[in-house]
């Protein structure tokens, strides 16, 4: 077991199977909130379903529509259980904050830079604490 300390962008607890993405993702246009599936033809994990995972990705890209895509997926129950980004930004966090306010559903968002991030690549299961610890 290993414990990694991340920066908390949106607090909450979660556990589940780790899904690693090789490239940044746009949650608007590159992801379908109705199904939870990546629909960006240029993304190496195109077709993967994010639902119920501890999602680990380098960051987001593209459109300012990401908060809406995240909030809509949380509303529909297709979202990851937690999102861990190497380069955190406001967009996923804002989507998570709006979803909790509107629907009472929590999706923690963390930033984990450095060597710890790469160590998640082959992790099977992970859990996230509200203090930002990632237990693998």
């Amino acid at each position: 077991m290993a414990v990694l300390q991340a920066r908390v962008l949106y607090e909450g607890t979660a556990d589940g199977p780790v899904l690693w993405l090789d490239e940044p993702l746009s949650f608007w246009g590159g992801f379908d909130p109705a199904t939870g599936i990546i629909v960006d033809n240029n993304h190496p994990q195109n077709g993967k379903c994010l639902t119920g995972t501890i999602l680990v990705l380098p960051g987001t890209r593209g459109s300012g529509g990401t908060p809406g895509g995240v909030a809509e997926a949380i509303r529909l129950g297709t979202a990851p259980r937690a999102v861990i980004m190497q380069a955190g930004d406001a967009n996923v966090m804002i989507g998570a904050a709006v979803a909790e306010k509107l629907y009472g559903l929590i999706c923690p968002v963390l930033e984990l830079s450095g060597a710890g991030f790469a160590s998640l690549r082959h992790a099977g299961q992970a859990s996230v604490t509200s203090e930002g610890q990632i237990i693998v």
């Binding site: 300012g64 908060p67 809406g68 955190g88 966090m93 804002i94």
Partner: protein, 425 residues
């Protein structure tokens, strides 16, 4: 979590709920964003261009309704971006889908929240907007790029909901492009190898913007040099293309844009970290990246991404006046109500409609249900449209000049001005 964020009394009062639950939640979002962005101060903002009025699912409607019912009202000018549908002639174009209903409901909610309902992705074409040095909040990528570069107003690219939160509270995190240090040019694009004749053509600015977007990465580009007489449409083309092809949020046109009277000033006295030559080869490659179709019959010609300007109407009308668009081809022109009304005063809308063109307001051919059924070849004069459409709409695209688009619409098949492309083929 963000113990290092300094809040003035006004902001602190909002955070404590003294001004009601809507502003409390909005300030919580702004504070969280400041923490995520590493800002230690907030800066007052004087203008917002709201992108969250573009329907992207039920959560958007629920958010706007929550804010309205919690008593929110914009206290600074807040202008709306395109909606997903047109509010003016929905019977013609909008299928009665849940998406179209949700989109209309969302647009009405932002009107009730106190937005000025301009419904345009090119708000800088309207009078009374921000000026040099203003701190503003913008989400639409081409408008972020245009306001920063061409106007010298200061904004980061604000994602949905945060644009609303900043607009409602009147504050944004002081970071990135709001700061002097975050605005200086870093990478130099040298255009001295490009023939002057090409620099006079509308296609040049779209190709240049596309190449810059593809090459700049996260660095702020400066173009050395840009024609001091390059018009607003040229700056729009560069802004939209660079934002679409690479996420450029700010750029300098040396000798043309307000923060770049000369190279020294644009780079704040420092050396460029990289110099990139712009050549006929690089522009040809940009052209290829905007054209996925071979020449042939055209199902649709799409003009006005970002929204068609008054001067673009002035250029287009003589090309189509008294002519007829091919019955097998649709010509759509997306614009704002404001520009459409100005053009109508000159009789231009009548002339274009007589020729068979359709004018679309409030929305964009790129998003509109109007084009959902189109599966054939599309020609456009807009790099942004050409960049996104093959992936997102599944259509084949030819990029061309405005004159080529007009002639193509009349002929019903792709027409090329051989002189225009001689150097770029």
């Amino acid at each position: 979590m963000s113990a290092s964020l300094n809040l003035n009394d006004d902001c602190a009062a909002m955070l404590y709920g003294d001004q009601g639950p809507a502003l409390q939640f909005a300030m919580q979002l702004v504070k969280r964003a400041a923490s995520a962005m590493g800002a230690s101060e907030l800066v007052p903002v004087s203008f917002a261009h709201i992108d969250a009025c573009f329907y992207a699912g039920r959560a958007h409607v629920d958010f706007a309704r929550f804010m309205l019912e919690a008593g929110a009202k914009f206290n600074i000018p807040a202008w709306t971006n395109n909606g997903l549908v047109s509010l003016t002639d929905e019977n013609i174009r909008d299928p009665k889908t849940e998406m179209a209903r949700g989109a209309k409901e969302l647009m009405q909610l932002y009107a009730k929240l106190g937005c000025r309902t301009v419904w345009t992705c090119a708000p800088y074409q309207l009078p009374g907007g921000p000026v040099l040095g203003d701190h503003i909040v913008v989400g639409e990528s081409n408008a972020v790029s245009f306001y920063n570069a061409a106007v010298g107003a200061r904004t980061n690219k604000y994602g949905d909901y945060l644009d609303v939160a900043c607009g409602l509270t009147g504050y944004a995190p002081l970071s990135g492009l709001h700061t002097d240090a975050g605005r200086r040019a870093q990478i130099l694009f040298d255009t001295s190898a490009v023939p002057d004749t090409l620099k006079q053509q509308d296609i040049y600015f779209h190709l240049l913007g596309t190449f810059i977007g593809q090459s700049a990465g996260k660095q702020i580009p400066a173009i050395d040099a840009l024609d001091p007489d390059a018009g607003e449409d040229a700056l729009k083309a560069i802004s939209a293309a660079a934002a679409a092809a690479g996420g450029v949020e700010h750029w300098h046109g040396i000798g043309r844009t307000p923060e770049a009277p000369d190279r020294q000033t644009a780079f704040a006295g420092l050396d460029p970290v990289k110099r990139v030559p712009v050549t006929l080869d690089t522009l040809s490659a940009a052209r290829r990246s905007l054209t996925s179709a071979s020449d042939g019959p055209v199902e649709m010609v799409a003009l006005g991404t970002p929204h068609f300007s008054f001067t673009e109407f002035a250029d287009l009308v003589p090309m189509l006046q008294g002519r007829k668009i091919n019955p097998a081809t649709k010509l759509y022109i997306s614009t704002s109500r404001h520009v459409r009304d100005l053009a109508a005063q000159n009789g231009w809308i009548d002339a274009l409609e007589k020729a068979g063109a359709e004018i679309i307001v409030d929305t964009c051919t790129y998003f509109s249900p109007a084009v959902r059924g189109c599966r054939g070849r599309v020609m456009t004069n807009a790099a942004k449209w050409a960049w996104y459409a093959p992936g997102m709409l599944g259509v084949e695209v030819c990029f061309g000049s405005l004159a080529e688009c007009a002639e193509t619409a009349v002929r019903g098949e792709v027409w090329r001005d051989a002189n225009l492309w001689r150097e770029l083929d």
